[in-house]
Amino acid sequence: MDHKKDKHKFSNHNPTIATILSILFAGLGQLYNRRFLKGTIFIILELAFLTTLLDSINYGLWGLRTLGTIPGTDHSIRLLVFGVLALIASILLLALYVFNVLDARNQAIKLKDGWKAKGFKDTIIDFYDSAFPYLMTVPGLLLMIFVVIFPLMFSILLAFTNYTLYNSPPRNLVDWVGFQNFIELVSVPIWQDTFISVLAWTIVWTVVATTLQIAVGLFLALIVNDPRIKFKKLIRTIFILPWAVPAFVTILIFSAMFNDDFGAINRDIIIPLLGGDGIPWLSEPFYARTAVILIQTWLGFPFIFALFTGVLQSISKDWYEAADVDGGSRLQKFRFITFPHIMFATAPLLIMQYAQNFNNFNIIYLFNEGGPPVRGQNAGGTDILISWVYKLTFETNNYAMAAVISLIMGLIISGFAFYQFRQTKSFKEEGEL
């Protein structure tokens, strides 16, 4: 066998040379492998890159490092944008370069082992086959890079600058300040107080509002599913209504209904029933918080209800009949049959509900714009982290601090994502229902 191998044309072909050549200049390794077309394409690509893109990437990375040096001329934030884009471009180009080296090396090894290159047409077909998945994902990926990945990187970087209303380009230069913003957030009293109370309320809001909407949805799904109940279809349609009406409309309607002075809740329900002057729904933090939780329950339970109803109908009757034979009580049937079934089928979606409420900007902002104001804080009584970020960004233009809080939110959300990931993984291992 060795004898045979020695005889073919590329027996002296050296993969190391191909690797080194392609590291030196993209495409040389391919030329060494006698893949002339591919090699030429790589060479042209690298030449094009060197003559056009290199300058702008260099400029971008310089901007990223310094954020400009001449106040009034260098626009730090634009430089930051270019810098992030240059960073993304360099990562992509680096990946392409690594691909070029690996390609040259693998092909050289194959040639050495006596593999014969296919003809031109077959090469093209091969190329199309291996490139196809990339071609499919490119449009989506490009859009995602610009709309999701680039902005996220940008806000992460912004957290380490001193970009505020008073220190903004083009008049001033923005500088890197390291962790100073983070230190300020936990040491300067007004930031510290606001941060702790907003964070605490965000957690309470997420847990209470989401759990409440799941509990109400579950309870209603169970009782409507009772075989003794008639008009199921009509009842289900009614219960899904709040989900069907656009949320921004209902939130604004509730906001008017909860109005302290002329809202229907005070005027038609609280005052006639309980007397007094009504409850200050919008001006007292405690009542405002109660109101948003109630509204979110109203808005959120129909989805859970519909979800659980679907699952309940898919549970086989045999389970319950078997339980009846064994004399299982209703509570036992719920605990050991219904509940595990429901949770197994919907757990990831329920976790998503928690994540969604954590980020539920609409209800907080549209209900009362995060208000009422609280003394000694720069966030309102119902402000959760995300609506606070909105205020910092678009009302007080404290971009750097907004980015710091976004970053902290991102870390919390990654926790959610990690949990979700473990869930889906365990699902795969346990098989499908």
Binding site: R78, G140, L152, I235, A244, F262, A264, V389, A417, F427
Partner: protein
């Protein structure tokens, strides 16, 4: 109390709960309808059953003074483009992820999972500055592109999950018969995945229609407003003064949307559980 009586009491209790829930659901909705038929714009003098029934707010919305129809048109443009675009983009991505092996596939899936949790809010400043730099601020195109890019992580998972349930034997058989990659995609995957694609289209039609945050940041001129921003401005300026008008405008969008939703909710739920749980 014997078994039969106990059962009757239970059923009665359940009906009572159902009736109370229905009242809580209907109260704000009926209240809004009532408001929209009230004369004048003040909430003080308005009542659930209007004393002076009038259609003046509806007439005003369609009159020359109001931009309501323009906003309606803008919203439809955005929603329809996003619905179509998202189906095309995500089905391409999901097809690659479901049927092919390529470098970085696994990591990309984890990144998608992570990214779908992040709120758009975090990207706001960067998007604002970037759109401003490329001259797409205050345009519907800019808004559409942001929606299209943002929906990919979530919907790609959803559609990939569904594609995974389509037997591979089908496309392998087609490939043996000489069908190319695109042909398999177009004549086998797409037709079989219609239910989930309908769900994606519907989600992405509704999402821009309801969204307030993104358009309120990207769009600044009245002519470019979508419905959510426009209606919010009715009541934002002088709250009590324009609420009845807001109510009328809201009903004209909520009624068609709610009708479609009620018809299609079964699809939505089954699509979510089919694609979502299999991950």
């Amino acid at each position: 109390m014997n078994q039969k009586q106990k059962s009757k009491v239970e059923v009665a209790l359940i009906y009572l709960i159902i009736i109370i829930t229905s009242i809580i659901i209907f109260y704000p909705l009926i209240w809004t309808v009532g408001m929209s038929f009230n004369q004048g714009t003040s909430l003080y003098s308005s009542s659930l059953i209007p004393e002076n029934f009038s259609l003046e707010h509806y007439k005003w919305l369609f009159s020359e003074q109001s931009d309501y129809l323009i906003w309606y048109k803008n919203s439809l443009i955005v929603s329809i483009s996003v619905a179509f675009g998202s189906v095309i983009l995500t089905s391409l991505v999901a097809y690659a992820f479901s049927r092919y092996q390529f470098v970085g596939k696994k990591n990309a899936l984890y990144i998608f999972l992570l990214l779908q949790m992040f709120p758009v809010m975090m990207a706001m400043v960067a998007l604002y500055i970037f759109l401003n730099m490329i001259g797409m601020l205050d345009t519907l195109t800019g808004l559409i592109l942001v929606y299209l890019g943002g929906q990919i992580p979530f919907n790609a998972w959803l559609v990939k999950g569904y594609f995974d349930t389509i037997p591979r034997e089908l496309d392998e058989a087609a490939k043996i018969d000489g069908a190319g990659h695109l042909r398999v995609f177009w004549s086998i995957m797409l037709p079989l995945a219609k239910p989930i694609l309908a769900v994606v289209a519907l989600f992405n039609f509704m999402m821009p229609l309801f969204d307030f945050l993104l358009p309120s940041i990207i769009l600044s001129s009245q002519d470019n407003y979508t419905l959510a921003v426009g209606l919010f401005n009715f009541i934002n300026d002088q709250f009590a003064n324009n609420f009845t008008r807001f109510a009328a405008g809201s009903i004209l969008i909520a009624v068609p949307v709610a009708t479609v939703y009620l018809f299609l909710q079964r699809f939505l739920i089954s699509g979510l559980t089919a694609g979502g749980t299999k991950g």
